[in-house]
């Protein structure tokens, strides 16, 4: 099954908007009832991660290139696993110190998969894939370093590359979305 290019681009735009929601909800502080600002830790983030995973997995059905199918399946797996672990933590049913590393590692590994995607299958959209992979890796590494250092910043610097990744995904032109 082959989708028209505009349909592929629409899928990327919608996923970009969803990722933007995830990043902004997770990393931009929200004012509490006491007037203080802090992380929201809402359950919206894990659900959005799992919704994104379902969207990425859809590519496995619609794609006609085996590399695209493989890489998108792995992206879906990572996003679903991260969403499930975060949901368990935010519901209070599973709490471990290493869960702090789930989101940074998910971003980092998804970024690495972008680079692998370019490595194993060159397309006209390679410059976009490299840019997006680089931004995800930067966001993951920055957030990993922040978590490991134990510093509680009001706004994580990782929000910049991660927001950049989402905006690039939204702005991806139709011709490069194949």
């Amino acid at each position: 099954m082959i989708l028209p290019h505009i349909q592929i681009a629409r899928g990327h735009w919608a996923l970009g908007a969803l990722f933007l929601v995830i990043v902004l909800e997770e990393y931009l502080p929200r004012r509490g009832r006491d007037g203080r600002q802090g992380r929201s830790r809402s359950q919206l983030v894990p659900w959005a991660l799992m919704l994104g995973a379902a969207g990425v997995w859809a590519t496995t059905v619609f794609a006609d290139v085996v590399h695209d199918m493989l890489i998108h399946t792995l992206w879906g797996d990572i996003l679903f696993a991260a969403g499930a672990l975060e949901l368990a933590r935010r519901r209070g049913v599973y709490e471990r110190p290493w869960l702090d590393l789930v989101l940074p590692l998910a971003f980092l590994s998804c970024g690495v998969l972008f680079i692998v995607h370019v490595w194993i299958h060159q397309t006209v959209g390679d410059s976009w894939h490299l840019a997006m992979g680089g931004l995800l890796i930067a966001g993951g590494v920055i957030e990993l370093a922040r978590v490991r250092s134990g510093r509680a910043l009001l706004i994580s610097p990782a929000v910049l590359p991660l927001t950049g990744f989402a905006l690039v995904l939204i702005a991806i032109p139709v011709a490069a979305a194949t």
Binding site: R10, W13, G16, R30, R31, A171
Partner: protein, 75 residues
């Protein structure tokens, strides 16, 4: 009365300087400028066409900005 006005102004200023409000305002403004520069395509008003109408990059940025503004309130 003057004290109340000053408190109201300070509260309003505090609300406007929240990171979420600032980012949301930038996104809505950026999306509107992007829409004006790029142009939007109108597909129609049937359910699937409304989805196409909304799934355009500048519209998505404005929608996420509006959602962020809504989510900037107290927890």
């Amino acid at each position: 009365m003057g004290v109340v006005d000053e408190m109201t102004v300070q509260r309003a200023r505090g609300t406007l300087l929240q990171p979420r409000v600032v980012v949301a305002a930038l996104m809505i403004l950026g999306g509107l400028v992007w829409a004006a520069a790029r142009g939007l395509h109108f597909y129609g008003l049937s359910p699937i066409n409304v989805a196409y109408d909304l799934d355009q990059p500048p519209v998505l940025v404005v929608l996420v900005g509006a959602w962020l503004l809504y989510r900037s309130g107290g927890r």
